[in-house]
C-alpha cells in the first residue's frame, strides 16, 4: 500500500514586518520579507507524523501557489522532511482571491495525485481559513478540518475538532482534505542534515497551462470580490498611562467607571 500526501503551504509576508497594500490593493509582497506561514508548519509536521506512524509507503509532496520567492516556503518544508515539492507560478496569478487559489490548488492536487491533503487551519496573512473547505468542495472529497489531533489508519482519517461549544471526533474515508490547528503538535526544526538533503530534493514548476486553467479564471481580473479601498488605521491617540504607586487598581476602576463599564 502506498499513501500519497499533498501538503498545501503558503508563503506569506512576515507578520512582524510592516505589512501593507500595493497600489492595485493587492498585498504588497515586495517591501516585506516572506516566510512559510507558521500555521502551515503544523501541517507539514502532521504529514511527517502520519508518515512516521504508518506501515505504508508514504510520499509527502508540498505544494504552493505563489511568486518566485515562494520557493523559500517549499525549501523549508523539504528541509523539515517532505519528499518533493510543486511550485505553481504564473504572472497571471497576481491578485488571485481565495476562490481562485482553491481552484489552482485543487487542479494541482489532482494532477499530482493524492490520498490525503493536509493544510494549515488558515494562512497568517489572509487568516480567513476557508481554503481547505473550498479545496474539499472542488475535489469532491470529505473535509476533516480544524483538527487538534489527527491519525490515518486503514484507509480512513480520524481527528478531533475543538469547536466553540463542543469537541467532536470526526471520521472520513480517504481520499480527504484535512486541516490542522496549532494545537496539533509543535513543528520540528529542520536539522542540518535535513537542510542539506532539501537542496537535492526535486521541485517541479507548473504554470496555469499545465493545469488547464485560463488566465481569466484567476488573478485580480478573475476575483469574485473587489477591494474598493484600503486605509491604514489611524494611529491610536496616546492613552493615559499611570504607574502603580499603591492606588493603580483604584485609578483603573475610576477610568472604567468614567467610561461606563462599571
Amino acid at each position: 500500500m502506498s499513501l500519497r500526501i499533498v501538503v498545501t503551504v503558503k508563503y506569506v509576508p512576515d507578520a512582524t514586518g510592516d505589512r501593507h497594500f500595493a497600489d492595485d490593493l493587492t498585498v504588497d509582497r515586495d517591501d516585506v520579507d516572506g516566510l512559510l506561514s507558521e500555521l502551515d508548519e503544523y501541517a507539514v509536521e502532521q504529514a511527517l507524523q502520519i508518515s512516521e506512524n504508518s506501515d505504508d509507503d508514504v510520499e509527502i509532496t508540498v505544494l504552493t501557489v505563489g511568486p518566485e520567492d515562494a520557493k523559500d516556503a517549499l525549501r523549508k518544508a523539504l528541509s523539515m522532511g517532505a519528499d518533493k515539492a510543486i511550485h505553481v507560478e504564473d504572472d497571471d496569478l497576481h491578485g488571485t482571491d481565495a476562490m481562485g487559489t482553491s481552484l489552482v490548488l485543487a487542479k494541482a492536487i489532482e494532477k499530482a495525485g493524492f490520498d490525503l491533503v493536509v493544510s494549515g487551519m488558515a494562512s497568517t496573512d489572509g487568516t480567513a481559513g476557508i481554503v481547505p473547505a473550498l479545496v474539499a468542495e472542488r475535489l469532491g472529497v470529505p473535509q476533516v478540518t480544524l483538527l487538534s489531533q489527527v491519525a490515518v489508519e486503514g484507509g480512513a482519517v480520524t481527528g478531533r475538532r475543538d469547536g466553540d461549544t463542543a469537541s467532536e471526533q470526526l471520521q472520513a474515508a480517504l481520499p480527504a482534505v484535512v486541516s490542522v490547528t496549532d494545537q496539533s503538535g509543535e513543528a520540528r526544526y529542520p536539522s542540518f542534515k535535513g537542510i542539506m538533503a532539501a537542496k537535492k530534493k526535486p521541485v517541479e514548476s507548473w504554470d496555469l497551462s499545465d493545469l488547464g486553467i485560463e488566465a481569466e479564471e484567476v488573478g485580480l481580473e478573475g476575483a469574485w470580490t473587489t477591494v474598493e479601498a484600503a486605509a491604514e488605521r489611524p494611529a491610536r491617540t496616546a492613552g493615559t498611562i499611570v504607574k502603580d504607586e499603591g492606588e493603580g487598581g483604584k485609578q483603573l476602576a475610576e477610568y472604567l467607571a468614567g467610561q461606563k463599564f462599571i
Binding site: 507578520a15 512582524t16 505589512r19 501593507h20 500555521l39 482571491d97 481565495a98 476562490m99 487551519m121 497568517t124 487568516t127 480567513a128 481559513g129 476557508i130 473547505a133 473550498l134 469532491g140 470529505p142 473535509q143 478540518t145 487538534s148 480520524t158 475538532r161 475543538d162 469547536g163 463542543a166 469537541s167 467532536e168 471526533q169 470526526l170 471520521q171 472520513a172 474515508a173 480527504a176 490547528t181 496549532d182 476575483a223 469574485w224 470580490t225 473587489t226 474598493e228 484600503a230 491604514e232 488605521r233 491610536r236 492613552g239 493615559t240 498611562i241 499611570v242 504607574k243 502603580d244 499603591g246 493603580g248 487598581g249 483604584k250 485609578q251 483603573l252 472604567l256 467610561q259 462599571i262
Partner: protein
C-alpha cells in the same frame, strides 16, 4: 425589498448573540429571512421574529449533527434557490466560514469573511474588514454572484424590531457529499458560567505575567466582577495554564469586545492580531516598555497581583 438570508447559529434552539447582530445588519440591506437547521430549529422562530426576521426557514434532520458542515451547505443552498436573496449573511465562526465558503463556490459567488461592518452600496453590500492585525481597514464588495458575507461577533449592537417571523419548513435534499465526514462523538464544552469569549462585551485576559495556572484565579475574579469572559495569550496557553479554547490571537480566537483588559501580556503581534479591534483597550503590566502600552486607552505600569485584586474589589464595591 430584497430578501437577505441569515444563517442562524443556535444550540438546541437557543439563538446565539452573533445571529441577532446579523439580523440588525441584514435590515440595512433588505428583509431578513432566517435559516435555522437541526435540533430545536423551530424553537428559534420567536426570538428571530423579535429581531426582524420576516420569515424563518426551519429544517430538522439528524444529518446536521451527525455529519460535518456539508448538510448545512446543502440546506443553505436550498434556501438560496427558494428566495434568490440579495445577500447571504453567516456568523464568522470557524464552522460558519466553512459553510459560507462552500455555499459561495456552489452558487458561483464571491465571499467576504470576517466583516466588521456592513452597509448598502450602489453595487451591492459593502463590507468593512480589519486586516494585517487590524493595522489596515478595507472596504470590499462581492463582484460576482450573490454576496456571501461572514460577519464577526460584536460588529453591530443587537436591536429589537418586531417582524412576522412566519415559519416555513425548508425542503432539503442532501447531496452525496453530505455524509462524507462523520461526527463519531461529541463532548459539549463544560460551561464556566461566563460569557463565550468571542461574543463577550468585556474580555479580561492573562498572559505570561500571570505566571502559573493557579494564579489565573486572580484574572477570573476580575472577569466575574465585570461579567466578562476570560482570555489568555498564547504564552499562557502553551505553558498549560489555561485552555486553548480561551486563546486570543492569530492562532486562537479573534475578539472585538467593548472593553479588553490585558494583564501580564506584552502585546506581541500574534496577540494583537486577535484583539486590536477591541473598542477600549486597557493593560496592566510591570514592564513600562511592553508594546501593549502602544495600543491602550488606559494602562497601569505595575504588578498585576497588586493592581488586579484592588481593581476587582473596587468594581465589587461600586457595583454594590
Amino acid at each position: 425589498m430584497a430578501e437577505v438570508l441569515v444563517y442562524v447559529d443556535h444550540v438546541d434552539g437557543a439563538v446565539r448573540k452573533p445571529t441577532l447582530e446579523l439580523l440588525t445588519l441584514a435590515r440595512r440591506i433588505g428583509d431578513p429571512v432566517a435559516v435555522a437547521l437541526g435540533n430545536g430549529a423551530g424553537e428559534t422562530a420567536s426570538v428571530l421574529a423579535e429581531h426582524g426576521a420576516v420569515k424563518v426557514y426551519t429544517h430538522e434532520a439528524a444529518e446536521y449533527a451527525d455529519y460535518l458542515v456539508v448538510p448545512k451547505v446543502d440546506a443553505l443552498q436550498a434556501a438560496v434557490t427558494a428566495v434568490s436573496p440579495a445577500a447571504v449573511l453567516v456568523p464568522s465562526s470557524a464552522e460558519g466560514k466553512e459553510i459560507a465558503a462552500r455555499l459561495a463556490l456552489r452558487i458561483k459567488s464571491g465571499i467576504i469573511t470576517d466583516a466588521v461592518d456592513l452597509e448598502a452600496g450602489e453595487n451591492g453590500p459593502v463590507a468593512t474588514q480589519s486586516v494585517f492585525a487590524a493595522s489596515f481597514t478595507t472596504k470590499t464588495r462581492v463582484s460576482t454572484g450573490t454576496p456571501v458575507i461572514t460577519v464577526k461577533p460584536n460588529s453591530a449592537a443587537v436591536e429589537a424590531a418586531a417582524a412576522a417571523g412566519a415559519v416555513e419548513a425548508l425542503t432539503v435534499s442532501f447531496s452525496q457529499a453530505a455524509t462524507g465526514t462523520k461526527v463519531t462523538s461529541r463532548t459539549p464544552r463544560e460551561s464556566t458560567g461566563r460569557p463565550e469569549l468571542t461574543e463577550a462585551a468585556i474580555v479580561v485576559s492573562g498572559g505570561r505575567g500571570v505566571n502559573g495556572a493557579e494564579n489565573f484565579a486572580v484574572i477570573e475574579a476580575l472577569a466575574d466582577s465585570l461579567g466578562a469572559a476570560v482570555g489568555a495569550s498564547r504564552a499562557a496557553v502553551d505553558a498549560g495554564w489555561y485552555p486553548h479554547s480561551n486563546q486570543v490571537g492569530q492562532t486562537g480566537k479573534s475578539v472585538s469586545p467593548q472593553l479588553y483588559i490585558a494583564n501580564g501580556i506584552s502585546g506581541a503581534i500574534q496577540h494583537r492580531a486577535g484583539m486590536q479591534t477591541s473598542k477600549t483597550i486597557v493593560a496592566v503590566n510591570k514592564d513600562a516598555e511592553a508594546p501593549i502600552f502602544d495600543l491602550v486607552d488606559y494602562g497601569v505600569v505595575g504588578d498585576l497581583f497588586d493592581v488586579v485584586p484592588q481593581l476587582t474589589e473596587e468594581v465589587k464595591t461600586r457595583k454594590g
